[in-house]
């Protein structure tokens, strides 16, 4: 049609599937590489603190005396630096996002006392 330039696109939108998903009823499957949030395997962690030094946003705090590994997921910028430098490969980048919350709080993970050294 001379005047109706978006004719085909409009017809497709009227009679086709909607382009948007009904979030939060339907959530989208994240891609395998999607950068969501960091998880730690505390059993393998040796509390060396390299991830804390490398984090550009200062989101990770490691305390060897208290045996805790803390991350503030709201400070994390999902840059992938921490898991790439971890010597024990105990950090992973999961593909689900951090849930929204009313307060920015840190997540503390405690390492239990081990029966054997290392």
């Amino acid at each position: 049609m001379g005047a109706f330039k978006l004719g085909r696109m409009t017809m497709r939108s009227l009679f086709g599937k909607p382009a948007c998903a009904m979030y939060p009823v339907k959530t989208r499957e994240p891609y395998p590489r999607t950068k969501g949030h960091i998880e730690v395997d505390i059993e393998t962690c040796i509390l060396c603190g390299i991830c804390e030094k490398k984090c550009p946003a200062g989101a990770i705090t490691v305390s060897k005396p208290e045996r805790t590994w803390t991350i503030n997921p709201f400070s994390c910028v999902q840059c992938d630096s921490c898991w790439q430098v971890c010597p024990k490969k105990c950090l992973t980048m999961e593909s689900t996002y951090t849930a929204p919350s009313a307060a920015m709080s840190a997540r503390i993970v405690s390492k239990p006392e081990a029966a054997v050294a290392g």
Binding site: A3, K5, L6, R8, M9, T10, S13, A19, P30, Y31, R33, T34, K35, K54, P56, A57, V77, Q78, C79, D80, S81, Q84, M93, S95
Partner: protein, 362 residues
């Protein structure tokens, strides 16, 4: 003698993606002069080089702006690599250019949507952004992030794209082509869109040259400068590259240049995806920039020529990192183009420089 009034435009305005303030001096409905004011999103990012070492600063650099994010991480990486004399593998250069051209496609589709919104054609705006979602899905699939994807760093790129994924990218872009043809037809051939854009906000070639306008804004006035023609990175391996220009210098010409640049970017991606060599995608980086070393480099961002300057001081913190974005040099051009236009055309003309004020102010 008509009375003069001064009307403030911005920093909050529905058409602006980022805050810029203009004091418009009006005589009845005609704009006589415009005085710009920026500084609403100045975050002092250039001072952060003192606090984040040169490997970490790439994450700051890519957060200078959301739309031009990958371009800044690429420009930063490129400059620091030249400063330290690091050679990145060929495959990394190809991947960087592919992501950068995809960035250009997504940025121009975003701009086309905003332009449609500026002259009131909301459904065209929604369709442009719907097509843009496919490009953002490509980013998420290949890098993990939709807008800020932390893909480039000093030494190369952080993850590879397998050849099957590259073929998938080309297939998505091919699928985009028919809908994009319909979209660009609506922008370029629709009667009401053309009457809003033709003859509005004219900047002649001489004016554009004196003011040093860059990017699609300058090329729409007939200037032929495009930094990609210099052949940095993987651009030197392209069989041919000619900047897209137009002669009229009005809003319609700027729209036309960007519409055609999307097609040009898709062609570049197709060509590079076919030619990409195998190999590693990054090299390990050791040491720090030497004291007194300095390097400047330029990049063609979606908005124009972006200038980066890095200076080392022997420590792992850079002495100075300077970004001069295309919008910074286009603002005087915008102010000149505004003189003599009608008040109702002001949002459209401001939008045609593709203002990225967060880049400009850092």
């Amino acid at each position: 003698m008509a009375t003069r009034t001064i009307i403030p435009f911005g920093p909050q305005h529905p058409v602006l993606p980022e805050p810029v303030h203009l004091d418009l001096v009006l005589e009845d409905e005609t704009v006589v002069a415009a005085i710009p004011q920026i500084g609403f999103v100045h975050r002092g990012l250039e001072k952060l080089v003192e606090k984040r070492d040169y490997m970490q600063f790439v994450y700051v650099a890519e957060r200078i702006c959301g739309i031009c994010s990958f371009g800044h991480s690429l420009g930063y990486s490129q400059t620091v690599e030249a400063l330290m004399g690091i050679e990145v593998p060929k495959r990394a250069e190809y991947l960087r250019v592919i992501w950068h051209e995809l960035s250009r496609v997504h940025s121009h589709l975003l701009w086309l949507g905003l332009l449609a919104d500026a002259f009131g054609y909301e459904s065209l705006f929604m369709h442009s952004w719907r097509l843009r979602e496919r490009v953002l899905d490509i980013f998420e699939e290949t890098t993990g992030g939709r807008v800020i994807f932390s893909a480039s760093n000093v030494g190369g790129v952080k993850n590879d794209i397998e050849d099957s994924q590259l073929a998938g990218i080309v297939a998505v872009l091919d699928g985009l082509a028919s809908e994009y043809a319909e979209l660009s037809g609506a922008f370029l051939n629709d009667y009401s869109a053309a009457s809003r854009m033709k003859g509005v906000g004219v900047l002649t070639k001489e004016q554009a040259h004196t003011l040093g306008c860059v990017g699609p804004f300058g090329r729409a006035s007939g200037l032929g400068a495009d930094i990609r023609a210099l052949g940095y990175g993987a651009y030197e391996d392209l069989s041919s590259f000619a900047p897209v220009t137009a002669a009229a210098g009005d809003c319609y010409a700027r729209c036309e240049v960007r519409v055609k640049e999307v097609l040009q970017s898709i062609e570049i991606i197709r060509e590079l995806a076919a030619k990409i060599p195998a190999g590693p995608v990054s090299v390990p980086v050791k040491g720090a920039p030497e004291a007194g070393a300095e390097m400047a480099s330029r990049l063609e961002q979606p908005r124009g020529e972006c200038f980066y300057y890095a200076k080392g001081n022997g420590t792992k913190f850079l002495e100075r990192f300077r970004v001069r974005t295309p919008t910074a040099i286009n603002i005087p051009g915008m102010v000149t183009a505004l003189a003599g236009c009608q008040l109702a055309d002001v949002p459209m003309i401001v939008l045609t420089i593709d203002p990225c004020i967060s880049c400009t102010e850092r």
